[in-house]
């Protein structure tokens, strides 16, 4: 279960970093800076960042970027990446066409 936290807004301005333009979520083309800004804006866990930015919502469903996003969020929050809960995986593990899905023979 999530730790109990109170969300605190930073007093200072958002500070850009030199590698903010590096793409982290390749499927949705979300950059490091966008992730950092989302955390700055109040997103405090990976599900919130995901729903705010679409990281991990693309074709690979976070297979490539989840570890990276975790560590960026953790660094912004000053905590261990291990403390960040990842979004839960859901079926299908690979893309399935609607036609294939429709064809499940359940009513036979």
């Amino acid at each position: 279960m999530s730790k109990t936290i109170e969300r605190v807004l930073l007093d200072e301005e958002f500070i850009s970093e030199t590698d903010d333009s590096v793409i982290i979520c390749r499927c949705e083309e979300i950059t490091k800076g966008e992730i950092r800004k989302a955390v700055y804006d109040g997103m405090r866990n990976m599900n919130e960042v995901k729903r705010y930015l679409r990281v991990g919502m693309g074709l690979c469903q976070g297979q490539t970027c989840t570890k990276l996003v975790k560590s960026i969020i953790a660094k912004e929050l000053g905590i261990n990446p291990g403390e960040i809960e990842v979004p839960i995986p859901r079926s299908p593990t690979r893309p399935v066409s609607m036609q294939t899905y429709a064809n499940d023979g359940i009513n036979k």
Binding site: S21, Q63, V86, I88, T93, T100, N103, I106
Partner: protein, 529 residues
């Protein structure tokens, strides 16, 4: 709904081994794999495995894969390919996408053996064509016969990075450098020495700063980092490369276990999010098991044993074998697994920076850890390297194996009993001072780490003959002139090929013998022409 006694998901080393174990006890087993060929990662492993005979040491990965498949099929295991398990639902219901349909099927037991995926490291330019995973490069080369590029930068010095770098050279690519942000090489020393003597430089404590190019990778800048992983200004180095291979670790593909409702944990030592399992590889859901990389990142050899363990556990809980048989099998397998989990690269020792001595008390070569090769002064101290006196007597094996890793094929390779390791397979190999080496070269070919050489200081007045393992094409011929390189890949000078041995029993590792000036007998370790 159709119900199976055992569904295995994944036909890699863990999955096939589990299926074989269960089927050998009489169970009906079905294995689903999303690929068009079974074998998982084994298919593209063209190098010889480590371990002991029981662990299939000395065999090339893809052969092991072929053997497993054959054994599974002979036992009546149904292996279904191009079958994607898209989800595990309540009550152990498995949904498989096959032939344009979704099949709903149930199982009394499920063994999840879905393996792992490659990690990535982002840097400016990493989305350009030319940046690929090391595993992807391996697939391109070894499955599809494609060169991934020409001039390669390898990022990551773990076993994957080192082994793939070697295979890239075999495929005809030039590996310009292997870099790692860590201060020491992460993989086996012998994997590093193989490429170091071919001239590949190592840059430890370096990370990639940027990949540049207009439409694809045309070059990369690497930069040194300090102990806090911060880039040291002014230490940038530009590399002329067209391909950047990323080998920074693997993450278990444990999504199915999570979907099924297994208790999961985030375990960095195991590689990421994994199902919590007991010693029989059973997850928190009774009847669902996880074996191989999906439960913790390790080697294929461990995956095979974990597959066996879960296979025997399922056989026992379905009453195909009795308790005493189960207990015995489990004991045998877990002991075999423990053997593999010893040594310098075991879980307990992983990441340790304070190891300075081997278990026997020899110095661990710091040069090897930081540069990828042993210095001449260091190498003579190890038990696999006989004294000068003994070398003067004639041909001897010189074993430059200096780290405790679980591996012992050399022990049985020598029919003259020159090489000893003992029962603890992590021991450093010892070459008997009274060795009566006949120069057959079997030890040279049998060493999966390619760390054994034959040195004959009596070859001819003023000359020595050095025999080395050689796995590059085109093969040199007797009489060819070229240059000898030292352990660091530096050219020593002219050398000539005096023999090339290619025997079936050596399984693709040729033994190349060159003639060099006597002074180079303990220096020359590679040949280029």
């Amino acid at each position: 709904m159709k119900r199976y006694e055992l569904i295995v998901i994944g036909a890699g080393p863990a999955g096939l081994s589990a299926a074989i174990e269960a089927a050998s006890n009489g169970m009906d087993v079905i294995v689903f794999d999303e690929n068009s060929k079974p074998g998982g990662q084994l298919l593209k492993q063209i190098h010889k495995f480590f371990g002991s005979k029981a662990h299939k040491a000395k065999e090339r990965g893809f052969k092991i894969g072929e053997e497993l498949l054959k054994e599974a099929r002979e036992l009546g295991v149904e292996v279904v390919l191009n079958a994607v398990v898209i989800g595990i639902f309540q009550n152990k219901e498995v949904n498989v996408m096959l032939d344009g349909q979704i099949k709903h099927i149930k199982a009394n037991n499920i063994i999840i053996a879905t393996g792992a995926s490659e990690n990535v490291v982002p840097f400016p330019g990493w989305t350009m064509p030319g940046v690929i995973g090391a595993g992807a490069a391996q697939t391109m080369m070894n499955i599809h016969g494609l060169k991934p590029g020409n001039k390669i930068l390898m990022v990551g010095s773990g076993n994957v990075g080192l082994v793939v770098a070697y295979q890239l050279i075999q495929a005809g690519c030039m590996v310009k450098a292997i870099i790692d942000a860590a201060p020491r090489i992460g993989g086996y020393g012998v994997h590093a020495t193989k490429v170091a003597r071919m001239g590949v430089p190592f840059y430890l404590s370096h990370t990639i700063k940027v990949a540049y190019g207009s439409e694809a990778v045309e070059g990369a800048t690497i930069v040194q980092v300090d102990r806090n992983w911060k880039a040291i200004e002014g230490s940038e180095k530009k590399l002329d490369v067209d391909t950047i291979c990323i080998a920074v670790g693997l993450s278990p593909m444990s999504q199915l276990a999570s979907m099924a409702g297994c208790d999961m944990e985030n375990n960095p030592q195991k590689g990421g999010t994994v199902p919590i399992c007991n010693q029989y590889n059973e997850t928190s859901i009774s009847g669902i098991y996880a074996a191989g990389d999906v439960s913790a990142i390790e080697e294929a050899s461990s995956a095979m044993i974990e597959g066996r363990i879960s296979g025997t556990a399922v056989s026992y809980n379905q009453k195909y074998i009795g308790k005493s048989e189960f207990v015995n099998r489990f004991k045998e397998y877990s002991e075999s697994l423990s053997q593999l989990r010893q040594g310098m690269f075991s879980h307990e020792n992983k990441g340790r920076i304070d190891l300075t001595k081997t278990e026997e008390g020899y110095d661990i070569s710091q040069n090897l850890l930081q540069n990828g090769y042993l210095s001449e002064k260091e190498v003579i101290k190890y038990p696999g390297v006989v004294s000068e006196k003994v070398r003067k007597r004639g041909i001897v094996p010189i074993i430059e194996c200096t780290q405790n890793i679980p591996c012992d094929p050399c022990q049985t390779a020598c029919s003259m009993g020159c090489i000893k390791i003992g029962n603890t397979i992590t021991n450093l190999p010892v070459v008997d001072e009274n060795s009566n080496c006949i120069g057959c070269g079997m030890c040279v070919a049998s060493c999966s780490g390619q760390a054994i050489f034959l040195v004959d200081e009596n070859y001819a007045p003023g000359f020595a003959a050095i025999s080395m393992p050689y796995e590059l094409y085109p093969l040199p011929q007797k009489g060819d002139k070229g240059v000898a390189l030292d352990r660091a890949g530096k050219v020593l000078g002219e050398a000539q090929v005096i023999e090339v041995k290619t025997i079936k029993a050596m399984d693709g590792t040729n033994v190349l013998t060159i003639k060099v000036p006597l002074e180079w007998s303990m220096k020359a370790r590679f040949f280029k022409y």
